[in-house]
Every structure is written in structure tokens, then in C-alpha cells.
Amino acid sequence: MELLFIISTFFIAAIIGLLTKRRRVIEYAAIIASAISLVGSFIIANKVATEKIYNVSAVFSIDALGAIILLIISIVSLTTAIYSVEYLRQETAKDIIRVNRPRQYFILLNLFMMAMFMAVSFNNPILAWISIEATSLSTAFLISFYNKPSAMEAAWKYLTVNAVGLLIGFFGTMLYFTAFQPGSEAGLVTWQSLLANASHMNPIIAKIAFIFVLIGYGTKVGFVPMHTWKPDAYGKAPAPIGAMFSAALLPVAILIILKFRIITNSVVGVAFSQHLFLAFGLMSIAVPAFMMLILKDYKRMLAYSSIENAGVIALGFGFGGIAILASILHIIYHSLVKASLFFLSGNYLLKYNSAKIENVKGSINVIPITSVLFLAGFMAITGAPPFGILITKILIFSAGIKTYPIISLIGLLLIVILFIGFFKHAVAMVFGKKPETMKREKENIWLILPSLSLMVLVLLLSFYQPVFLQTLINNAALQY
């Protein structure tokens, strides 16, 4: 019931945006909607933790991993909504966007969030596909939000590449329906019924289907070589949208792939999907590792970091064993940290009016809180103590070393190359001589609070996870 409530609040918030032009109302609607989603997600997560699964009729069903991702989405949504309000106000004040634009922004944002909630909770693969497609559609205009040629270009590439990817994914999805004997189907096909009937599938078709799904939805996740849209889109979209993409959409897409993975595994065994995950995971770490060094734009840098983290997660699921648990933890940490980093990149953009790394210097003397948080975020995402990503990475590779030692060692090496690139840019931004014209000013609390709270949350979760979350993670790890 909570789920429908969440989805409808987002819908209502979007409708409010259509109806009224009063900015404050729209802003509050968005914040309230996402706050409600957070509360709802907690209730759902608790239920899943105790009852293993959460069903609303046959159409909606949420399992442990779904609940975790639901929590992530809602937390990121709430912080994004809060951040967006002040961010857009400042942009309007600086005449970067016209006064009436935030209305469009919030409508699309609400739809986007709604689509993600639906993608996670729909129990039918086609409906999930439709929701994922809806995320693409709702965000195209968010990417081109600044109406500049470059934003247009990014949005166009996003649209094209994702359309192709999702159609491939759609074809793969359809192939899974061969599990049902012609004419035997009754009612709505669900993930569970697919899994139950998977044994009827021709193994080779199962393999083909999974390849199509992996490449199709992998486009949405951003596995190399389907990642090409990501730097463009992340770089050109408003910072909070980047946060939503990287922190919320990415896990959603991974979730869908994982759901297909269980089905495939039950037909053709684990090794097949493991090898695919490893191959794409390793590529997704390798390309960002080398790209990182020569990047010039800090938002693109965050995009590549997302690709790399998707790669690490894929490696984790590829290795299996405790790595799966570590990967789930990694998804949580990565989302929270990456959202925080995107918010901070927004602060940088507001202050320095440039997304170029070379134009951002000495920020520790201009926006100290942002800079310190940015450094902390950098440390967290690259795996420095006391943040949990260090542990998840070690756990992932410790599972990997047992079965795929060479891949693990290469992965480790690539991660350090990536670290070098990332670190180089982070240092260049935070330290150095600040531009003469810049003065140290008090930073707006609403631009700081979202990322600060996310970082605090990550820190807390690095030391202690609430019991229900632990149960969820363990259950999810058992299931996938």
C-alpha cells in the first residue's frame, strides 16, 4: 500500500507542477513527495526484512535487494529535491536559467523519481522495461535543461544510445518469454513465474537473451563499451540530475539485470553470467582508469567514476560468494557518496561558473566546507578509511582472488591508476592558488546540508548497519 502511496505522491507532485506556477508550492511539493517516499521506503524495507518479500497485488513486488535500492532512491531523491531548490534559486539569481524553468524541472524530476520507483517495484519485466524507458524519456529534457548546444548534443546522444540499448534489452526480455509454452500463459507474467518456468527455456536462447539484456540494460548502467552517453549526460545535466542518474538510476538498472541473471543462472548455470559480468566489469574499470588522467571536466570525472564503480559492482557479482554481499554494500556506499559528490560539483559550478578543472583552483580558500566535503567524498569513493568502500573493495577482490586471481590483480592495478587520475584532479581543484577575484564567502547551508548528511550517513553505515538493513543485505546476497 505504501508503494502506491509513494508513486501517487510523486505523480501528484508532478501534476501540481503542471497546475500551479507558484514556485514555492512546486518546490515544497517535490520535497514533501520525496520525504514521503523515504518514510514509505523505510516501512517497506522493514516489511521486507521481516517478511522477505513485499507484494501489492500481483503487479508490484519488492524483494530484499529491491528494498535496499528503494531506500537508496528515496534517500537520494530527498536530498536531490532539497538541493535542487536552492541550486535552481541560485542559478535563476545568476540568470543562468529563466525564472519559469524550475517548474519544468520539478515536474520532470518527479516523473523521473516515479519511474524509478515503478521500475524497482513492478513485478513484470515488460512493465519494468516501460518504466526504465520512462526514466529515459523524463530525463531527456533535464539533460538539455540549459538549452545550450552542448547540452542539446548530450541529450541527443543520450536519447539515441539509450533507445538502441533499451530496444536491445527489450528484445532480450521478450526472449525470456520463451520460458512459457505457447498458449500456456495465464495472467501477468512475473519475475517469480519466469523463474519458476525457466527450466522450459532452451539454454542457448537463455544465453542469447541474457546477452541482449546485459548489453541493453548495461547501456543504462553504463558498462563499457555502452557507457559513451554517460560522461556527456552527466556532464551537461544540472548537478542534482547527475546525482539522480549516478546514485539512483544506476542501481535500478543493475537490479533489473540481476533479476534476469537469476533466471539465466537457473537455466545455464552460474559460470556463463559470471564470465560476462567479469568481462564487462573489467572493461568498465579499465577505460575510466585511463580516461581519468586526461579529463578536463570535473562532472565528467564523476561520470567516469560511476562507470568504474559499476564495473567494480559487476566484478563483485561476477566473482560470487562474499563478493556479492560486498557488491550490495558497494552499491549503497557508492550511491550515497556519488550523490554527495554531484551536489558538491554543483557548488563548484555555482562558485566558479565553469566545469573545467583548470578553472577551479584553490577552492579550499573559497568554499572550504564544500572543498573538505569534496575531499572526503573523493576519499570515500576511491576507498580510503574510514569509509566502507575500502572494505567492500577488499572483500570483492578477496572473493575474486580465489577463482580469478589474474582478473583480481589486474582490477586492483586499474583501480590505483584510476585513483591517480582522480586524485590529480581533486588536488588541482581543492588546493593551489585561488583566482584573484574570488573571495571567501559564507556557503549556503542548503547547498551543504544534503551532501553533508549523505556523507555522515555513509560514515555511519561504514561502521554500523541497522539490523533490518543487515537482514536485507544478507537476504539479498543469498538471493542473487
Binding site: K157, V161, I211, P385, P405, L413, V416
Partner: protein, 679 residues
């Protein structure tokens, strides 16, 4: 007080100190007091804890699994070696914290003292946990805490671009190191199925030879980066000078030893038995590091960089001990191995005392003169007499002059090498001989280097205005330095007792269990090897020296020509006024040695002559000579490596061509290729 509580309070004192000082960010004075108080009490607790552990001889083992993270457990295993290192850490941290109280005052108003306190305390706690951890993941967390905290300390003075650059290099190198360490532990995990050190040790036999060798290479690289072995040292001369001096002292005196500690732990404890070539490799690296370290030190005129290069040299000397220990133990000669290990441990302790002493006194000098360039010092002995004395003691100790402690540990290292020359196979003999040779040359060159360092800094006339305004350091700073100086002497004089104690520490490793004593100690006798090969006594020499010196002084002063008149005049100046520019410079001092070793150091000399008038090339107005050094490690290792990565980056960059057709082609190709590969 049980050891558990002792250790817990030790850690929590530092943690409270770290986190608490963040709350005083707005009040420099309070922040200073807070951090110093907790660092000092924490270090004192550490000293008491470690000494009581050493005396009781018990092992503190403790494990606490963390829910939610499999394989990770907060597991501690503090045997005598760990306790010994905790002792060193606490001792140096104590002195540096005392020194720091006054030293960090010059940051007031300029930098965030709260942040300094946070990272300083976190740094110390990181090192302590590194030597106590007994679970690889927990260890890595501690290791990274140590690395990152020290990184932020290195860039603490971040208004200086050079410091930020130094920090950059430092963190990159440590991260590369961490990856290698991770690789090593992962390999151990692969075969032993555990991250717990004790389990690894118990199951070390399960590791196949190839993997063991790989672990050795990985661990040596990883820990070697932290220890600063050549050619992985490049971060060290950059990072150590950049940090505040009391932090440099800890970094140089203690942090780099964590690499040594882990080498001992892994090679001599966890994955025994080891093949002989490990030890020989370490000895070779140690020999190269010590010799090149001191050579590079000679070329430096930045006083802290000079000291940093000496750290490399001393790490080399310690590694000679570690390597011999490994070699001997692999050949089943535990007695000799124990001597070598004791030599390494003793030199670790000694280097920690005198190197932090040197860094602290250099810090005092820099604090007064506001420059690290030795060419701008001179004559400081008259302005800072006590600091000069402390630096002199440090210099003598590091140059291995008896009766200071440096000599006795080097003596023991020599003995280990000599024994190796006597008993090993021809290849082993050769390597040990070259190692002993490099140790001998290192000793000579270090002496030359410290004549330069002390002479140029403290003696003769001031070379810049800043020097003339220099004042003696405050009491607390002198207290810190003075205690370390006294310890340098005491550790030398009572080296006999210390070595006996350290032998017991060495015996805490399983390899040396149930070993008979190999050295003897009594007050007069000093150090004696059981096989009667050698003996030496610091105490005897010290007493003898004092008596004879007093006698000589008395006789010359009071018995012969009592009514001698002493006139103060000017130095003979050949008839022209002696200016500070006529004194020998640091560069000039070492020029001849640099030219002798020009094959290795690759000096480049540039002459710039400015003429009075441009059309008349016969009357030069001024001439500048720049003596530069071409670092061969950069040009032969790091630059090519960098070029490879850059090149690959530029290839990878082409993937993101900007053309949407290409992007879709990738998807298409990925699809087709995967289909054909997977089916």
C-alpha cells in the same frame, strides 16, 4: 590495569585527541592544548603499556568480529615485536608532541590548528594500529588511515604549491604500495583461506612456492614504498620536508619503519620458511638504498631533504639486518639470524631517536630562519647554541660515531654481515661482502654529509640576515630535543643491556623460539658475540673518553704554560675582507664527491655569467654556477612509466570520439562479439 584496558585507553586517548581538536577549530590555543595533551598522555600510556608488555612477556591477543562485514575483525596481536614498535612510536610521538606544543604556535591564525590536531593524533593511532593489527583487512584500514592522515599533514602548509605537489606524489606512491600490499594479502588469503595473521602463519605451508615468491615481491614492493627503498623512494625526499617538522620527525623516525615492521612480520613470521634469495634480494636492496641514499643526501642543500635522504640510507642499513636475518634463517642458522634481526631492531630504535632529533632541531632552525636552504644558514651555533648541540649529537649518532647509539647498531649489522661472509656459499659471500662494503662507504659518506650539514648550518658566519635574528628555541622544544639527544647517548652507552632485551624481543618470533642467547651483556663488557668474534663497549669508551679528555684538558690548560694569553682576532683573510660569500657553500662542499660519483648522480653544471657591459666579454660582473642533479630513477623508471600510461590514456581517449554513430557501433559490435564468443 590489564593490558587490554591499557591498549584500549591508549587508542582512545588518541582518538579523543583527534576528534576533540576538531571542535576547537576556532580557538588556536585551545586546539593546540587539546591535541598536545592527548598526544602526550596517549604516548605516555603507550610507553607504559609497551614496556609492561615487554617485561611481562605476554602476548595481547584480541579479536572482535564486526557484524555486517565478513572476514573483517578488529583483531589485535601484540607480541614483543609489536610492543617494541609501539614503544618506539610512543617514545618518538611523545617527544614530538612536547616539541610540537611550542612549534605549532607559528601556525596560529594562518592554518586550522584543529585539523592539525585531528590528523596528528589520527596519524599516531594509525601507526600504532598498523603494528598491532592481526587481520589483514583491519591492517589495511589502519595502514590507509596512517597514509591518509600523513598525507594531510604533508600538505598541511597548503599555501605552498611545492607541498601540495609533494603530497600528491606521496599519496600516489602510497596508494600504489597499498595495492601491492593488498595483492600480497589477497594471495595469502587465496591459499590459507583467512585474513587472520595467526591463521595465515599456521597454514603458511599451504601456499605454493610460486605464490609465495609472488607474495614476497608484492609485499616487498608495497612495504618498500612506505619504507622508502631505492628506487621506490621518490616520494620520501619530497614529502618529509613538506610536513611540519614535528610530523616529519614522526614520519621519518617512525612511519617508514612500519614498512620494516611489516617486512619482518610477513617474511620472518607469517610465511616462513623463506627461500634464500629473498634475504639476498633484501640485502641487495638495502645496500643500494644505503649507498645511493647517502649520495643523494650529499647533493642536497635543503636541510630537510638532506635528512630525508638519510632516512633512505638508514632504512637501507636496517634492511641489511632484516635481509641477513632472512638469509640466515632460510639456511637454518637461527643464531646468526637472531643477531641480524636484533641489529635491524636496534637500528630501528636508534634511527628513530636520532633522526627525529635531527628533524626537530632542523625544524627549530627553519622556524627561526624561515628557509630550508642551507646556503642561507651559517653561524647559527652562536644564536642557538643548545639546538646546535642537539644537532651535533644527532649528527654524530647518525654518522655512527661512538659512543652514540648509531654506532652500536651499525656495529651489530656489520657483525651479521661479517658472519655471513665467513659462513655462506660463494654467492652469498659476494652479496654480503658488497653489502658490508656499501655499509662502510655509507658510513664514510654519511660522516662527510653531516660535516657539511652541521658545518654549513651552524658554523662560520651567518650567510643571510635571517640568521642574525634567530633566537634559541623555547624550553619545551629544547626539552623534546634534549631528551632525544640524551637517549641517543644512553642507548649507545647501555647498548649491552638493550641488545639482550632485544634478543628476547626477537625470540618472540616463532622462528627463534628456544634459541640460546647469542650475545652477552654486562655493564663493562658491552656487546659480545657468543662465538667471541667481536666485542665492544660503549660504556667503557664513554668513561675512558671523559677521563682522558679531562686529563688532557687539565694538563694542557693548567700544568703547561699556565699564563698563556688568548687573544681574539679575525680569521686570516689574505688581506681582503672576509664576507659570508667567501665561506664554503653546501654545494661547494660536496662538489668533489658529486663529481667522483658523476656516473650515478649525473650532475649538470650550468654557468651563467653576467658582464658589466654586453659588448665586452672580458669583465664579468657576476657568475652563477648551478649544480643540478639528474635523478636517474625519474629518467629511467618513472618517466617511461608515466609515458606508457599517458600513451594508453590517449589511445583510450579515442573511444569517446563524440560521434554518435560510433557509439552505437560499439553497442552493435559488443552485441555481435559477445554473441559469437559466448555461444
Amino acid at each position: 590495569m590489564t593490558p587490554e584496558i591499557g591498549f584500549a585507553s591508549l587508542i582512545s586517548l588518541f582518538i579523543v585527541g583527534a576528534i576533540g581538536s576538531l571542535f576547537f577549530r576556532n580557538n588556536d590555543k585551545l586546539a593546540n592544548r587539546w591535541q598536545s595533551f592527548f598526544a602526550i598522555t596517549g604516548s605516555l600510556t603507550g610507553i607504559f603499556f609497551s614496556i609492561s608488555q615487554l617485561i611481562s612477556g605476554k602476548i595481547l591477543a584480541f579479536a572482535f568480529a564486526i557484524p555486517g562485514f565478513p572476514l573483517l575483525s578488529l583483531s589485535l596481536y601484540i607480541d614483543a615485536i609489536s610492543a617494541f614498535f609501539i614503544f618506539i612510536i610512543s617514545l618518538i610521538a611523545l617527544m614530538c608532541s612536547i616539541y610540537g606544543i611550542d612549534y605549532i604556535k607559528h601556525y596560529y591564525g594562518k592554518y586550522d590548528l584543529g585539523a592539525l590536531g585531528f590528523f596528528f593524533n589520527a596519524f599516531i593511532v594509525g601507526i600504532i594500529l598498523v603494528v598491532s593489527a592481526s587481520n589483514a583487512i583491519f591492517f589495511l584500514i589502519a595502514w590507509e588511515t596512517m597514509s591518509f592522515a600523513s598525507y594531510f599533514l604533508v600538505i598541511y602548509d597548503h599555501h605552498d604549491k611545492e607541498n601540495v605537489k609533494a603530497g600528491f606524489l606521496y599519496l600516489i606512491m602510497t596508494q600504489v604500495g597499498t595495492v601491492f600490499i593488498m595483492g600480497a594479502f589477497l594471495l595469502m588469503y587465496k591459499y590459507t583461506g583467512s585474513f587472520d595473521f595467526r591463521t595465515i602463519q599456521a597454514n603458511a605451508g599451504l601456499i605454493p612456492v610460486l605464490a609465495k615468491n609472488l607474495i614476497f615481491v608484492f609485499a616487498l614492493t608495497g612495504f618498500g614504498i612506505k619504507a622508502g627503498i631505492i628506487p621506490l623512494h621518490i616520494w620520501l625526499p619530497a614529502a618529509h620536508p613538506a610536513a611540519p617538522s614535528h610530523v616529519s620527525a614522526i614520519m621519518s623516525g617512525v612511519m617508514i619503519k612500519s614498512g620494516i615492521f611489516m617486512m619482518i612480520r610477513v617474511f620472518l613470521d607469517l610465511i616462513q620458511p623463506a627461500p634464500t634469495w629473498w634475504g639476498l634480494t633484501i640485502i641487495t636492496i638495502g645496500a643500494i638504498s644505503s649507498l645511493l641514499g647517502v649520495l643523494y643526501a650529499l647533493t642536497e642543500h635543503d636541510i630537510k631533504r638532506l635528512l630525508a635522504y638519510h632516512s633512505i640510507e638508514n632504512i637501507g642499513i636496517i634492511l641489511l639486518g632484516v635481509g641477513s636475518a632472512l638469509t640466515f634463517s632460510s639456511l637454518n642458522m637461527p643464531g646468526l639470524a637472531l643477531i641480524s634481526l636484533v641489529a635491524a631492531l636496534f637500528h630501528t630504535l636508534n634511527h628513530a631517536t636520532f633522526k627525529s632529533l635531527l628533524f626537530l632541531s632542523a625544524g627549530s632552525v627553519i622556524n627561526q630562519t624561515h628557509t630550508r636552504n642551507m646556503e642561507e644558514f651559517g653561524g647559527l651555533i652562536k644564536f642557538m647554541p643548545q639546538t646546535a648541540l642537539f644537532f651535533l649529537i644527532g649528527s654524530m649518532a647518525i654518522s655512527a660515531l661512538p659512543p652514540f647509539n648509531g654506532f652500536f647498531s651499525e656495529w651489530l649489522t656489520y657483525q651479521a654481515l661479517f658472519q655471513g661472509i665467513a659462513v655462506l656459499s660463494p654467492i652469498g659471500k659476494g652479496i654480503f661482502m658488497l653489502a658490508a662494503g656499501s655499509l662502510a662507504f655509507t658510513g664514510g659518506l654519511a660522516l662527510a654529509c653531516f660535516v657539511k650539514a652541521f658545518g654549513v648550518t651552524f658554523l662560520a658566519r651567518p650567510r643571510s640576515e635571517e640568521v642574525e635574528h634567530a633566537k634559541e628555541s623555547s624550553f619545551l622544544m629544547r626539552l623534546g630535543m634534549g631528551t632525544l639527544a640524551t637517549l641517543s647517548l644512553l642507548f649507545g652507552i647501555f647498548s649491552g643491556y638493550l641488545i639482550t632485551a632485544m634478543e628476547n624481543i626477537g625470540k618472540s618470533l616463532a622462528v627463534f623460539k628456544n634459541m640460546p642467547a647469542i650475545t652477552e651483556a654486562s655493564t663493562g663488557q658491552g656487546l659480545v658475540l657468543k662465538n667471541n668474534f667481536s666485542s665492544v663497549s660503549g660504556f667503557a669508551f664513554f668513561v675512558l673518553f671523559l677521563i682522558v679528555m679531562a686529563l688532557v684538558y687539565y694538563v694542557t690548560k693548567h700544568l703547561i704554560y699556565k699564563e698563556q694569553k688568548i687573544v681574539t682576532g679575525t680569521t686570516w683573510d689574505c688581506g681582503c675582507d672576509l664576507g659570508p660569500r667567501m665561506e664554503i657553500t653546501a654545494t661547494g662542499f660536496s662538489r668533489s664527491i658529486i663529481l667522483i660519483f658523476k656516473k650515478i648522480l649525473q650532475p649538470s653544471i650550468e654557468h651563467e655569467i653576467e658582464y658589466v657591459t654586453t659588448d665586452n666579454p672580458y669583465t664579468p660582473k657576476s657568475k652563477t654556477v648551478i649544480l643540478g642533479i639528474n635523478d636517474i630513477h625519474y629518467s629511467y623508471i618513472y618517466q617511461p612509466l608515466q609515458a606508457i600510461i599517458k600513451k594508453s590514456s590517449s589511445y583510450v581517449k579515442k573511444i569517446q570520439s563524440g560521434n554518435v554513430n560510433t557509439y552505437i557501433a560499439y553497442i552493435f559490435i559488443a552485441l555481435v562479439v559477445t554473441l559469437f564468443l559466448a555461444l
